[in-house]
Structure formats: C-alpha cells, structure tokens
C-alpha cells in the first residue's frame, strides 16, 4: 500500500460534506487522507432547512447524517479554525490559528457571505443577516426582548431567502415586512404574473410587502429602529434582517493569485479546477465557466465532479438544474428551466386562476412541442413532472396540461423518459428509481429513499416516488381491509354524514362480508368519537379490540392490567393509599408508568369489576390506558413549586387531560406540559406538547416516542390558555377525522400534502372554514364524556360479561398462575398447551 495523499478541504458546508462523502464512497483503497478545515464551530448542517430551526431551536435537527465522520480514520474534521492563507508554491495551507497543513489536492468550499448593501445604519445593533444557526440565535435573542405590543421586523430582500427569513420571523411571533427593490417578489424565479399572485398570497399571511422600492436609511431611536424606504414609507421596527443576496467568498483565491470571475467567485473550468491543477473550488464560492450558483443542487454536482476526478474517474460539470420549488407559509412557488422565456422564439402559455389562487406558465419552443421551462405559483403539484420534462416533447398540448385538474390532460409519470431527473438534489433519475422498485424489491417510499437517496434532501420529490411506485404496479392501496375499500378517513365521513350507528348497517351498505379484527375496531372507534353511548353498549361490544372490550390492557398470560386516571400525574396521598390497598388485596404487580401513573398488573377478567368498584368509590376513573384514545398529559411541577417555572404546567395538564379524556382516535394520543423552556415534561416527544413561555404557551405537534422517535414541531407560540385550548380542540378533531388507522400524529402530518404549513393553515388560519365545526365536535365530546368503568358497574348486562366462564362464573381460569419476582407476582408462563392432546 502506498502512503495516502492528502486532500485538504477549506470549509465545511453542505457541499464540502457531499465532497467528503463522495470521495470516501469511491476511495475504497484509502488513497486519500482528508483534512477538513472549517470556520464554523459545528459540522456541516442543513443550511437549506435553516428556517426550520425556528421550530424548537434544536441544532441537532439540522444535522447532516455522518457529518462528524465518527469512526472514519481517514477523515479529520477541524472545527473553528479556517484556512487563512494558501502557499501554492509549497502546497501548504496556513490556518487562522497558525497551523500549517500540506496538501496534494486542495478543494476550496468556502461558500458565500450575505451581501449587505451600504445603506446608512446597516451596522446598527438590531440589524442582522440570515445565513447561519448563530445568525438565527442572535435574531431570536433580539426578538425575545419584551416590547410594546406585537413586535415588527423588516426583511430587506424579497427573494427566496428573504421570504424564508420572513417566515422564520413570523414563526417567532413577529409581524414581518419585506422590501424588494425589484418589481415583484422572487424576481429571479417568477415572472410578473406569478409575482402578482405570490404577493397576494403572502400578504394574506400577515406579511407586509413593499416592492419596487429601496431601503434609504436605518436609524436608531432608543430601543426602536426606524427605516425609511425610497418611496417615502417609514417603518417603526424592532429589528431588521438583510437578505439581499450573497457574494462568493473568494478572498483566499484572490490573495493566492488565483483568478476570480468577472462578478466574483473562484474561476474554475467545467471540471471545477482552477488554473492551479492541484486546487479546485466547489459550491457557492466557485464561478464555473464564469457563473456562480447560489443553490445547493449545482454545488452537489460540483462536489461529485471533483470527487470523481480525485478517485480516478473523469467528470465535468453537467448542465446545472437551477429549478426551485419551495413552500412558504403554505404557498407553493416553483420555477424551472427557462422560466423567463429568454430562448429565442419561445412561447409562453399562461393559466391564471385568480379565484383558486393559482398561476401557471409554461415556456415552450416555437412549435409548442418542446417544454423549455415554467413558473408555478399557488399550486405546484405538477412541478416534479414538468421539471423532468424540460427539453423534451410534451405529451399533450400545453394549454390542456395547464387546465385545472379534471379538465386537462394531466401529465403522468408514465410520460417521463428514464433519464428524467426526479431528485435533483441527489441526481436520481426515474430509471434508477424504477430499477430500485422492480429489481431491488423496494415496495415503499421509505425503501426507495434508503436505496437510492432520492427524496432525502429537500423532500420535494417524495410525492413523485409514490407515483412511480404505483406506476411500477406496487399497490399502495388505501383500502382499510378486505371488507372495506374505503380508507379510515372516508369511513369517518360516511358515518358522520349518514349518522349510521350500527356496524352491521355500515358493512351492509358500504362494505362486504362480516368484518374482521381490522375494520370492526375502526368502526367502533369512529362510532365512539361521534358519540354513540358506552363503547360496550349493544352491538358495539363485539366490535372492540380485547383491550377496549374489557376496558383494561390484556397481558401475555390473558390477565389484564388496570390503570386509573391520574390527571397530570398529580395525586393525593389518600388516593395513593387506595391504589396500594387494592394492589395488596388483589395481589397485583404494580409499576409506575412513563405517563406518570400507576399500572396494576395480573387482574383476571372476573376481578376487573371488583377492582374498579374500589377505585371508582375512591374517586378514580378509567385512565383509558387500553384505548386508542388520549392517554396522559404529563407535566413537570411548574411555577407553583419550581424556582424556574413560568406557568402552572400541572394546572394546565389537568385541565387538558380532563378535557380530552375518552376521546377515541386513530391511535393513542399522548401529551405533556412543561412549565418552562427546560422542558422537564418532555412535551416535545408528544402528539401535542405545550411549553410555557413568559407570555403564555407554545404549542408543538406531531412528536412521537415509539419506534420512530420524532420531536414535535412548533405550531403556534405565545398563546393564552383559551386560544391554546381552542387550537388543540381543532388539532385533535382534525386528526381524529382524517388520519389513517393506527397512524400517529407524526406520520399523519408528514404525509399531509403541505405538511405542517398546511396543518397550520387549516387549524390556525381556518383556511378550509371547518374550525367552527371541529370545535363544536369537541365541545360535544367534552359534554358527553362519562367514565366507562362506572358505566359497566351500573349496568348488570355489561357486568355479566366479566366472568371467567359462562357456565362457571366463580371459577378462576385454571390456566393462569404466578411466581414471585422481586417480591411481586409475575406470570408463570406455561409450556405447550395441554388441551390439544386431551
């Protein structure tokens, strides 16, 4: 083996990380040792997703997998010590801290810096840029200062990044303004028609837009910033964020005598190499053939090009894909190909639906057969298909493609050639994806993502992956089971609209056969949500899963565990004593649960009513530990006792648990309330979690422990209790109505078209006009709640079902026996069943 050569990478952003990954993947013989010299104090992170950092302020959520190169001896990542000088003669770089590092190949990936125009006052305190996690932390610190009324902020620059910044500021609770010098928002990506609609949609979302004007001056008066615009408008603000474009960081090249482009950027050829054959430049600092690219996909392409050359291959920078799609505050914006129709002879075909709020334009060749580019605003659902068709013949007349759904000749994935790029972030073609389905056996979107990396960066092509799966004949049926072709959400709407209250009627009118262990509990749950009396009333009893059928949790030996509700985890010593006495009397194993209550194990069917009677008499009720229903609202001790608490988390947790107890849902629902940002109640691992702030409550949704842990994301902030409860009412009822069977809130939001932004639009901004209905449904649930255990105790017919044997009610199940472990009863598991041989 030869001594490895040294590759030095200056900078560690997304593109640099991609380079290291690509080299390591191809360099099977460890021919390269890689030294990465990074300026930032943390490894490369998802800067494209920077705005999402506002949802929880957790840098770990932006982490790129493997970016610390743990366990890879060939890669050395040095943080916080960037390259300060290059000595090309000696092939050595010198870091800011003064270390020297020799190289055989040097890749400059120094990125770009925010451009701050020399406006008067641009360097005042309270004026920020928007590029790094540290920038956002600084903005947050400034935004968090208490002021009068709703705080206001100005974003200078109405491009893609400026609108992202406006969204972040809105999510922080500020009232954002955006000023753009060009005649419209996102002038580079959208045309005049699209910009007009975009402005209307963004304005409707509480962002004030000023276009066609510049920022004249920023002045400070005490704590306030006053900004004067070119058109005479004066704004009274709490902070200002510059997002007026970026400039390549090419200083290292300039100082070491390397050529830079006419408009900046380290000049490289199509193989991303500078005039010095040992020095390359990639990403936003590079000017490839004179052009600088400010988005990640071309940067990734450059990284792959350099990696291929370093590992013995050949590659040149491909025709870059500068297509853009983003969803801002629920508004789709996309542009692709020749969006501005600069190609000679090109034609523009526009479809503008002002009522529906969608603008679509296709740019086609002069014979209107070949697609050249386009702009989509308001509804970009066809983006992936259309982008992949750029440069190819259209399958239909452009006018009919743009017509609204139903009337037009929609472009299907079938129309795409195999070479069409589906995932532009990771360069995955349609052919590679269909190959993974047909040859490698990928039968789900998740497997395609793992196998091909498609959809793992920005995620915008994920819907296409589903369509390709279907096109390959992999069925992703929404059918509930063999008895119902409908999904759970559809059945919910059928039962709600028809007010059918019996399973037999549901299946005879809308299904077939006699039902099964899938559809029966689903219908039972829907009937329970819609308020059809006790869940063991009449025919409903035989529909329930065994846990619901016996209002307790079946354990592996056929016994049950019993969990009384302890709202918010608060309990008196007297009640604790009752639980202890019951456990002693019935010889039950006791364990504290993760939801701050007590589980009593080992009860036989016939013991359940006796146990409940003791508990109900002492003021307990069912804790619904057995149901697909609200489980617990966990809490920390809150401001009543805690030195750090800012709100009464226990009080709120109890209020919420009592409000939503008994709500039947597609899956279990868990919640938590923390009294301060220290988050001791682990609220962000819950389906809905609440964290106290100085001003009220922040509401997070879609968290999950379980097999696929996920942090809940911020839905709304600084809510008063009444507003908070109203939004949770809507959230839960919307979830209950529309989720699939056994779908927790996290995947429900993930699979929702438009995700969290859409959810926010529906339940916070009432974009569908259904909030009143959702609230009324929840009010009905709260009004009709009754303890299910008491319901059995008060009804002899229901009580009669709680017997061991229909012909010997007093005889215990001879099959159940216990042994002792750590001083408590645990099941004695039997071997092969004897009954079969008898």
């Amino acid at each position: 083996m030869t001594t490895p050569r040294t590759l030095v990478v200056a900078g560690h952003g997304m593109v640099a990380h991609r380079l290291v990954e690509a080299v390591r993947a191809a360099d099977t013989g460890d021919a390269w040792r890689i030294v990465v010299l990074a300026e930032e104090p943390r490894p490369a992170y998802d800067r494209v997703g920077l705005t999402s950092y506002v949802d929880g302020w957790d840098p770990a959520k932006l982490a790129l997998p493997g970016a610390d190169y743990a366990g890879d001896e060939q890669v050395e990542l040095r943080l916080g010590d960037p390259v300060a000088r290059i000595d090309r003669e000696r092939r050595v770089v010198r870091t800011r801290a003064g270390f020297e590092q020799g190289y055989d190949a040097l890749v400059l990936a120094t990125g770009s810096r925010p451009f701050v125009p020399p406006v008067k006052g641009h360097d005042l305190p309270g004026v920020f840029v928007y590029r790094t996690i540290e920038d956002l932390d600084a903005i947050r610190a400034a935004a968090g200062k208490t002021g009068r009324g709703r705080r206001a902020a100005l974003v200078i620059g109405g491009g893609l990044l400026g609108l992202e910044a406006a969204k972040a500021l809105r999510d922080m609770g500020l009232s954002p303004h955006v000023v753009e010098m060009g005649p419209r928002l996102m002038p580079l990506q959208v045309d005049e028609g699209g910009g007009g609609l975009l402005r209307r949609l963004i304005t409707a979302l509480d962002v004030t837009v000023h276009t066609g004007t510049s920022t004249e001056a920023i002045e400070k008066d005490g704590e306030r910033l006053f900004v004067r615009l070119g058109n005479g408008t004066e704004l009274d603000l709490d902070l200002v964020v510059f997002s007026a474009g970026i400039r390549p960081r090419d200083d290292l090249a300039r100082e070491s005598g390397l050529e830079v482009g006419a408009r900046g950027g380290i000049a490289v050829d199509l193989s991303c190499r500078t005039a010095d054959e040992n020095v390359y430049a990639i990403g936003e600092c590079a000017a490839v053939d004179g052009r600088v690219y400010g988005i990640v996909a071309p940067g990734y392409a450059m990284a792959e090009v350099v990696a291929a050359q370093l590992t013995g291959g050949e590659a040149t920078f491909p025709e870059p894909d500068t297509s853009t799609k983003l969803k801002l505050m629920g508004v789709d914006v996309a542009s692709f190909g020749d969006a501005h129709a600069v190609t000679e002879g090109s034609l523009e075909v526009v479809f503008n639906d002002a009522v529906a709020g969608s603008y679509k334009k296709l740019v086609v060749s002069d014979d209107s057969r070949t697609l050249l580019g386009g702009v989509l605003v308001g509804d970009a659902s066809e983006y992936n298909t259309l982008r992949a068709l750029v440069g190819r013949r259209l399958p239909a007349d452009p006018g009919s493609i743009l017509a609204p759904a139903g009337g037009g000749a929609a472009v299907g994935v079938d129309a795409l050639p195999d070479a069409a790029l589906i995932c532009s972030c990771n360069g995955v073609s349609k052919g590679a994806i269909t190959h993974s389905v047909t040859e490698d056996g990928c039968d789900s979107v998740a497997k395609i993502k793992a196998c091909t990396r498609a959809g793992t960066s920005c995620g915008s092509c994920v819907p296409m992956l589903g369509k390709l799966l279907s096109a390959c004949g992999v069925e992703q049926s929404k059918s509930l089971c063999e008895h119902f072709t409908q999904s759970r959400a559809e059945l919910f709407e059928i039962i709600r609209a028809t007010r059918i209250s019996r399973f037999s009627e549901v299946i005879s009118r809308h299904g077939k056969g006699t039902g099964c262990a899938i559809c029966k509990p689903v219908v039972a749950s829907i009937l329970a949500t819609l308020g059809n009396g006790h869940i063991l009333g009449g025919e409903q009893a035989t529909l329930q899963d065994t846990n619901d059928k016996f209002l307790a949790n079946m354990q592996r030996n056929g016994t049950y565990s019993v969990v009384p509700r302890i709202p918010g985890g608060e309990i008196t010593p007297e009640k604790l004593l009752v639980i202890a006495q019951v456990a002693v009397e019935f010889k039950l194993y006791t364990k504290i649960t993760g939801g701050q209550r007590i589980d009593l194990f080992g009860a036989t069917v016939d013991q359940l009513p006796d146990i409940w009677r003791r508990l109900v008499d002492a003021g307990f009720e069912s804790g619904h530990a057995y149901g697909k229903a609200l489980r617990t609202v966990k809490s920390c001790v809150g401001s009543t006792w805690c030195r750090y608490g800012v709100q009464d988390s226990v009080g709120l947790a109890i209020e919420l648990e009592l409000r939503y107890r008994g709500l039947r849902s597609p899956h279990k629902i868990k919640s938590g309330v923390s009294g301060c940002a220290r988050e001791c109640a682990e609220a962000r691992s819950k389906d809905f979690g609440i964290i106290a702030t100085e001003n009220g409550w922040n509401l997070y949704v879609g968290g999950n422990g379980g097999m696929i842990p996920r942090h809940a994301e911020l839905l709304a902030s600084d809510l008063d209790t009444e507003t908070l409860v109203r939004i949770i009412d809507r959230f839960l009822m919307f979830y209950v109505r529309t989720a699939d069977r056994l779908q927790r809130t996290a995947p429900w939001i993930e699979e929702m078209d438009g995700g969290l932004d859409h959810l926010r639009a529906v339940i916070v901004d009432d974009s569908l006009g259904i909030c009143e209905d959702l609230e009324a449904a929840m009010a009905k649930h709260v009004e009709n709640y009754a303890d299910e255990w008491r319901g059995v105790l008060e009804d002899p017919a229901k009580l009669a079902r709680f017997s061991s044997f229909v012909n010997a009610p007093g005889t215990p199940d001879p099959n159940i026996s216990f042994r002792t472990e750590r001083e408590q009863n645990v099941p004695l598991l039997l071997g092969i069943p004897e009954v079969v041989e008898r």
Binding site: G515, T542, M554, S804, N807, D813, L830, P833, V835
Partner: protein, 117 residues
C-alpha cells in the same frame, strides 16, 4: 373412571342459553377436566366451539377475540398476537402447521351444548 375418547360415547355438556353469547362474539366455558372451550355465535344461531387456548401464547383467550371472516370463511382473531383461526376447522389461517381442537356444538330449545371432541 376414565374412558378414552374412542371408547366413550360422546358426552354433551349444557353450557348456557344461546342468548348469553353475544351475536358475532364468543364466551369461554369450562368442561370436565379443566378443559376450556371458546364458543362463538354467528347469525342464525350457528355456533362453533374451539379450544380456548391460543397456541401462540398459551393463554386461554380465544373467546375474547374478534369474530369476522376471511373471504367468507368465519374466523376468530387471537387477541394476543392476532392470528386467525377458522371457526369450523380450527385451522390457523396465518400458519398452516397449527390447528386448535374443535368441539361439536348443538343448540336445542335455546340451550347450547358442547360435545367432547
């Protein structure tokens, strides 16, 4: 005195009035010798009896499973790990090497009788 199954005439045990079994549901009954059976009632008072013991968990729970059908075959799903058993034959539809014992059932004058297997 113990008789082998072959030697004995079939013994019928009166278990309960048929109305005590929920429609499309089951109950557990205890036969002589601590034998546990699960008796299921389908529309038309068609009744079936299986061993109550779930062979996958060894818990006596099949009577507490959900009754339904697979392509028209009446089944009960085990409440522990959800395997389905044919109510008429005891065959497990999810593992054809497994079968639970079935018992003959008759309903006379509104009373359910279970016979020895």
């Amino acid at each position: 005195m113990t008789l082998s199954v072959e030697e004995a005439r079939r013994i019928w045990t009166a278990v309960c009035p048929v109305r005590d079994i929920p429609m499309s549901g089951g109950v557990a009954a205890l036969l002589a010798g601590e034998v546990q059976v699960a008796i299921f009632r389908l529309p038309g008072d068609e009744c079936h009896a299986l061993s109550n013991l779930d062979p996958f968990s060894n818990a006596a729970v099949l009577a507490r499973g959900i009754v339904g059908d697979v392509g028209g075959t009446p089944v009960v799903s085990s409440p522990i790990y959800t395997q389905r058993f044919d109510l008429r034959t005891g065959e497990c539809l999810d593992d054809n090497t497994v079968r639970v014992t079935t018992y003959p059932v008759r309903v006379a004058d509104g009373v359910v009788y279970v016979g020895s297997p």
